[in-house]
Symmetry: C2
Subunit: 203 residues, 2 copies
Amino acid sequence: MEKFKELSEEKQLPIIEAALKCFGKHGYKKASMGDIAQNSGVSKPMLFHYFGTKRDLYLYLSEYVRSVMIVAYKRNEINAYDDLFERILVASRMKMGILEKYPYILKFIISMFEETDDAVTDITKKIMPEAQRFSYDLVLRKEDVVKFKESVDIDVVMRMIFLMAEGYAHEMTDERCDLGKITEELEKTIHMLKSNLYKEEYL
Amino acid sequence: MEKFKELSEEKQLPIIEAALKCFGKHGYKKASMGDIAQNSGVSKPMLFHYFGTKRDLYLYLSEYVRSVMIVAYKRNEINAYDDLFERILVASRMKMGILEKYPYILKFIISMFEETDDAVTDITKKIMPEAQRFSYDLVLRKEDVVKFKESVDIDVVMRMIFLMAEGYAHEMTDERCDLGKITEELEKTIHMLKSNLYKEEYL
DNA sequence: CATGCCATAAACCGATTCGGTCAATTACAT
DNA sequence: ATGTAATTGACCGAATCGGTTTATGGCATG
C-alpha cells in the first residue's frame, strides 16, 4: 500500500474509482483485478505492485471510504442543526458533495452490506456500524415532534423521507445521473413537505 | 424449451426463481449456469437439457416475465380508476401480488435495464419498452390536478411518489423483506399524502 | 556515453471456473 | 424382463482467475 500512497492524487483517483465501481457492481468474488486494471488505465501487474493482493485492495478501499465519511461528518456538524428538515438538507448536500468526487462510493458502501464472501466478512463487519451513519443520520428528536400538525403520523413521514433518500441514493449510483438536478429537486421536495406538514407557527 | 414447458409448475418455479435471482444479481455474463443449477435443485446437465444454452435460458426468462407482467396488467385494469392515489394503490398491490409469487422478478427486470453484455442486448432492448410500464404506470391526468391544494407543486409530488416507489421497489428486491408490512406502510403513506395535499372537498 | 535503478507492462503461470457434452445410471411404464 | 425417457457424475476444451516473471524503456548519476 505504501507504494500507492506515494502516487499523486490524480493518479490515485482513477484507480480508486475503478475499484469502487467493480467491487460495488459485482461484489468481492466476481469483481476481477483485470477488470479493475483495465477500467483504471493501469496494468494488472501494477495493481498487484501497489496493493499486493486482491484482498488488500479491498481492505484499503474499506478504510479509504471510512476516512472519507469521517472527514465529511466532522466538517458538516450535522447534529448542530436543530430542525429536522435542516438536518436532512445538510446531510443530503454533504452526500452530494462526496458523490461529485467519488461517484461510486455509495454503490460500494451498499455492496459491503450485501457482501457474503468469507474472504472479506471480517472487513465488511468492521466498517458496517460506521457506514450505517451514512444512511441513517437524522434521528427524530423531541423538539421536532411538536412542529408537525396533529393529524400527521410522524412515523409515516420519517419512513417516507427515508424511502425517498434511498430512492435518491439508488439514482445517484447511476453514473449518468445529474447531481445538480437531483439536489435542486430534493430541496424543493423537502420544502414542500415542511410547508404542508408543519404547523403554521413553525414555518 | 418444450421439454421445460412440459414440467409441472412446482418443478418449473424453483428453476425460474433461481435463474431470475442469479441473472438479476450478477448480470448475464457473471451469472453461471452451475450456480443456477445448484440454487434450483436440479443438475447442470438438466438445465442444458431444458434450455439448450445459457442465452436461450435468458431469452426464455425475458419472455416469461413479459407475459407475467402483461397478464397482471390485463387483470387489474389500472386505468379504469379515476383518482391518482387510487391508481397508485392498485398498481402497488398488483406488484406485491406478483412479488409474492416471484420474489426475484423485480431485481431481474431492473438488471435487464443495466445489462450491457453484447450477447443479450437484442433481448433486453426488445422487452425494455414494456418493462418500463412496470415502473411508470400512473400518469397524472387533468382531472387529478384540480384536486391538489393551490400551494402544492404537483411535479414535485409526482417525483416524490415515484422516488418512494423506487425506494420500495429496491426494498422489495431483498429476500428478507416483509411484503405484508410494506403493503400496510404504503397504504398509510398514500393516505397521509392524500389527506394533506388534496383540497378538503376532495377527501 | 556507460551504468544502475525503478516504474511499467507483455507474456506467462498453475488453478479454477466457464459453457456445454456424454456415457452411464436410474426410474418407470409396459 | 425390457425398452424408454429422465437424470447426473464425470468430463471436455476454452476462458478467466489471482498472481508472477521477465523484459523493456526512461532517467538520473557518473
